[in-house]
Amino acid sequence: MATEKKEYWRWHEYNWHDPDIDWRDAEIITAGVDVGSVSSQAVILVDGKIYACANMRTGHSSPESARKVANWALEGTGMRIEDIHYVVGTGYGRVKVPFANRAITEIACHARGAVEIYGNSVRTVLDMGGQDLKVIRCDERGKVLNFLMNEKCAAGTGRGMEVMADLLGVPIGEVGPRSLQVDEEPPPVSNTCVLFAKSEALGLLREGWPTEKVLAAFCRAMTDRVYALLEELGVQRDLAITGGIAKNVGIVKRLERKLGFEALKTEKDPQLAGAWGAALFAKVLYQKERAQKRQAC
């Protein structure tokens, strides 16, 4: 029954490094590796400055995914994992990053990373990832003050969006823009559960709804859930959105409409926030360790 299908859910995977930096001159090289349930990222900092990164899908084994993503980030740089002074693992598989010196939760790392990416006016971080939603309150340094995670029903997460993309044959990157191409907001779908959502979407298509309208109904339902979580914690400005769904304008725009203000914008990749934060923590931890060693000598 299974026919070869195009994989619409596949979001863009990439690696990058800054050719202008020569890491061999560096004093401190640190890395953050974020092994999420859906995606893995690695960020390499050279003296605190971003030098290389990679973003790819998480595979079956956490240790393997961690190694893979780190190596991919280092591709073409001549640097090896062993050259990195300190590595912090974060995300779902944080304790399974074999070459990490320490594991820190993605909650702490995302807050830290958000402040790095968006600037220190950030007070609320919304992390919309593959399988969960987190709302984090932080101070100007990115230190977590309070946070909430969605419990119970995982309806309306990144995974859900992927399933939708596949079902409707819309590449994941276009889900957001296309969902905004409606004249009038349709009512939200009642069931955001991935499994039921499928038949619900089909039902709507059968009723003659255009794809855009179905997407809009889904994005709206998901926005409502995100909004509820934000409300529960209480939103303090500025708001930064991290994680993969930050790239979904269908949700970001709707959320902004509902909140009545805009979230911070960035040129950088918000999906890197966790790994970036982890790499920054790695730097501090390495410096501390070094200072302690020196004292000991």
Binding site: S190, D224, A228, E231, E232
Partner: protein
């Protein structure tokens, strides 16, 4: 299929009056302050006869009917749920309560305007939510004084082996006293917070109204034993609500008398609720208020719901006769008891309140199963459709066991899950499918 419509039908004559009364009730509450009156809030079972002793200009708002009204207004209900969940309240809590709190938090009254705050709250507690409902309401409304009377004093009935039926447990005195003591303290409290002098005469009159109206409701339900049934349950919902709104008010007594007389007349003339009555069912627990169309759906197959343990006994007071008949409870007035003092009134009120059949479900599900079987037989039913209502943990106490017992007794039973006040937990298509399957199994669809 005209041949199936064998019974004459006609609308209820007192329908219009009912609508007016209901509107007036909410209006009175909203406007009470303009005339220097008092308004209070409480749950439907609360003993409203007691605050009536504060004067004739005392109006109140009962939470459950209000919550149900919100549920009718799906958009409003949705906003209520949103704001309540944002405050961190769990989604599985009583749906009426969430609708009520939501309305307070939004500061919007479902009938328009800002939410009219009560001067105090007066509550009767038995399910886990009653007292807490108003405790939280008071907190979010900025500290409105409230008084709670504990109703959970134990079972009023006990099983009698010989008669194979329930009889009133003679061990009642200290339970009555418990309620009386609380009400006594409550009256002092009422005087305290309102600065008014309490009038025992008014209390006595209100108590009489309460006994009469709630026994009258039972009588009205009893008339539905006729074939064809003169009233369907969907209509019943519009009428039983008066007892839930203000059972101790004279107006309700008068209205119920009128309705009873009309029911008698309909029975005498053979007027039916639905023209094609082929099967009679009873339901159980609150319906999903936003989806009462399921009743019309059943009727399209000739299935009429004659009522339920819920519509009969939430507000109606009943007794079990020597011969086992479930019948309207004899009022103290009918028994020739004179009510002279505050103490007299309070004792009778306590005794009356403790004897409510619905209150017994909190102590033993077997009582309810037993009464459901009685209703099934006396009202000549063919089956039972139960609503496993996720919106009310109180009245669902024992439902799973009730269902087991009814099935054991060979009664055709179906159930569906839903929510009386949160449409997110109700799926119309699925429920219709279940109802259809049940009607099929009754042999009504070929």
């Amino acid at each position: 299929m005209d041949s199936e419509n064998k019974y004459p039908t006609e609308g209820f004559k007192c329908w219009k009056k009912a609508k007016e009364l209901r509107l007036q009730y909410y209006k009175n509450y909203m406007q009470a302050k303009e005339k220097g009156g008092i308004r209070w809030a409480g749950n439907a079972p609360s003993i409203d006869a007691v605050p009536y002793g504060l004067g004739d200009d005392v109006y109140h708002l009962t939470g459950e009917p209000y919550g149900a009204t919100v549920a009718y207004n799906k958009e409003f209900a949705r906003r209520c749920h949103e704001v309540v969940e944002a405050k961190g309240y769990a989604r599985d809590l009583c749906a009426y309560m969430r609708n009520y709190w939501g309305s307070v938090l939004l500061n919007e009254f479902v009938f328009g305007g800002p939410f009219p705050k009560p001067d105090f709250m007066w509550v009767l507690h038995s399910c886990c939510s009653h007292a807490k409902w108003y405790q939280e309401a008071s907190r979010i409304e900025g500290g409105i004084p409230y008084f709670v009377i504990d109703w959970s004093a134990g079972m009023y009935y006990k099983w009698d082996e010989k008669r194979e039926d329930y009889v009133v447990d003679p061990n009642q005195e200290h339970r009555i006293q418990y309620l009386v003591d609380q009400m006594q303290e409550g009256i002092e409290w009422l005087e305290d917070i309102t600065g008014r002098e309490y009038d025992d005469e008014k209390l006595i009159q209100a108590a009489k109204n309460y006994f009469e109206s709630t026994s009258l409701w039972a009588e009205i339900c009893t008339l539905n034993q006729a074939i064809p049934a003169p009233m369907d349950e969907k209509t019943m919902y519009s009428f039983y609500v008066f007892a839930a709104l203000h059972k101790a008010h004279r107006e309700v007594v008068e209205f119920y008398k009128e309705l009873r007389d009309e029911m008698r007349d309909r029975v005498a003339r053979g007027i039916a609720a639905i023209p094609n009555e082929k099967a009679r069912i009873m339901t159980d627990i609150q319906p999903p208020w936003g989806f009462l169309e399921i009743y019309r759906y059943m009727e399209s197959y000739g299935v009429v719901s004659i009522g339920s343990f819920y519509t009969f006994t939430l507000m109606g007071h009943w007794e079990i006769a020597e011969d086992g008949t479930f019948r309207p409870r004899t009022t103290p007035m009918e028994k020739g008891i004179e009510i002279r003092t505050r103490e007299d009134a309070l004792r009778l009120l306590a005794d009356w309140a403790l004897g409510l059949p619905m209150a017994q479900i909190f102590y033993d599900h077997r009582f309810k199963s037993h009464i459901m079987k009685k209703i099934f037989t006396q009202w000549k039913c063919n089956g039972i459709i139960m609503h496993f209502n996720r919106g009310c943990e109180g009245l669902t106490l024992g439902v799973a066991e009730n269902k087991q017992a009814l099935v054991e007794a060979g009664i055709p039973v179906a159930y569906y899950e839903g929510n009386m006040g949160d449409e997110r937990e109700f799926e119309l298509a699925t429920v219709k499918e279940q109802i259809t399957a049940f009607i099929e199994s009754l042999g009504l669809i070929k």
